[in-house]
């Protein structure tokens, strides 16, 4: 057999092998990439109670800053709220790790979703997410202390981008029930709410 014929035969064999075994080889390589990286020796075992303790610490701070009544409302409703604008024209629902939703305080119409987060880039091992109560407190503090800076920093979208508008409307209704009237009736009644 000539050298040329041998080379052609080798190429044909390689092509046939690629067709026969290639897909399986690709699948195996992808599976290997998806596997968890092996932890180094001495890696600390995660503390199963740490997240709960962090959440309790965060809720304690939240209560100290916004008041016991607002903390109770947060625990019952799952969000904080406050009002802004002249005559409390609009309000914000502050959800943990979800967008802030602004709404017309008179009609209840949803205005915008304000997508913002507070990633803790110093704590890579623990992840960047603050405990839920810290996240809502950070949003509350930022809205109270520098509303314009927070709103400018946030990505603003029409309602419905991330949160179900019907769900948010129900939350406004629950808030109204909680505060015993229209949402704005809460002003002065619940610690932690009021004009921005």
């Amino acid at each position: 057999m000539s050298a040329g014929a041998a080379a052609a035969l080798a190429i044909i064999c390689l092509a046939l092998a690629a067709v026969a075994y290639g897909p399986d080889l690709v699948r195996r390589l992808r599976r290997r990439e998806r596997r968890e990286p092996r932890r180094p020796v001495g890696w600390a075992v995660p503390d199963p109670g740490e997240e709960l303790r962090a959440e309790r610490r965060a809720e304690r701070l939240l209560g100290q800053v916004v008041g016991a009544d607002a903390l109770e409302a947060y625990r019952a409703l799952g969000f904080l709220h406050l009002f802004g604008g002249e005559g409390h024209a609009y309000g914000y629902l502050i959800y943990p790790h979800k967008p802030i939703v602004s709404f017309d305080a008179t009609t209840g119409e949803l205005l915008n979703e304000h997508c913002v987060s507070f990633p803790d880039r110093e704590e890579a091992a623990a992840g960047e997410r603050l405990p839920a109560a810290d996240d809502v407190l950070a949003k509350w503090l930022a809205l109270r202390a520098d509303e314009h800076a927070l709103v400018n920093e946030a990505n603003m979208h029409l309602p419905g981008r991330q949160l179900d508008p019907d769900h948010v409307r129900r939350d406004i209704a629950r808030l109204s029930e909680w505060t015993g009237g229209t949402p704005t009736a809460a002003e002065g009644n619940v610690d932690g709410v009021g004009g921005v």
């Binding site: 304690r60 008041g67 990633p119 803790d120 920093e153």
Partner: protein
């Protein structure tokens, strides 16, 4: 006065505590305050009282109200 920092996976962490009226404490508080701002943290001071809770953002220790109990450092906001 307490300086506390929100920390992921932990909740709030006490960074420093002292009476700013005492020179030694004030120097320690200022040092801790500046370190957090250098790290890019936002400093918020809760103000007001029951029924009317407020907060202000401060960029210098001189802006902290004299009667403030606590300064809270939060990671800077980013659009999500």
């Amino acid at each position: 006065m307490q300086l506390v920092r929100m920390r992921s996976g932990h909740g709030d962490e006490l960074l420093a505590e002292g009476d700013p009226a005492l020179a030694e404490d004030e120097a320690r508080l200022i040092e801790a305050f500046r370190r957090q701002l250098d790290l890019g943290m936002w400093a918020a001071v809760p103000t007001g009282s029951a029924g009317r809770r407020e907060a202000i953002r401060v960029c210098d220790f001189d802006e902290v109200p004299a009667d403030a109990d606590r300064i809270i450092f939060i990671p800077p906001a980013v659009g999500g």
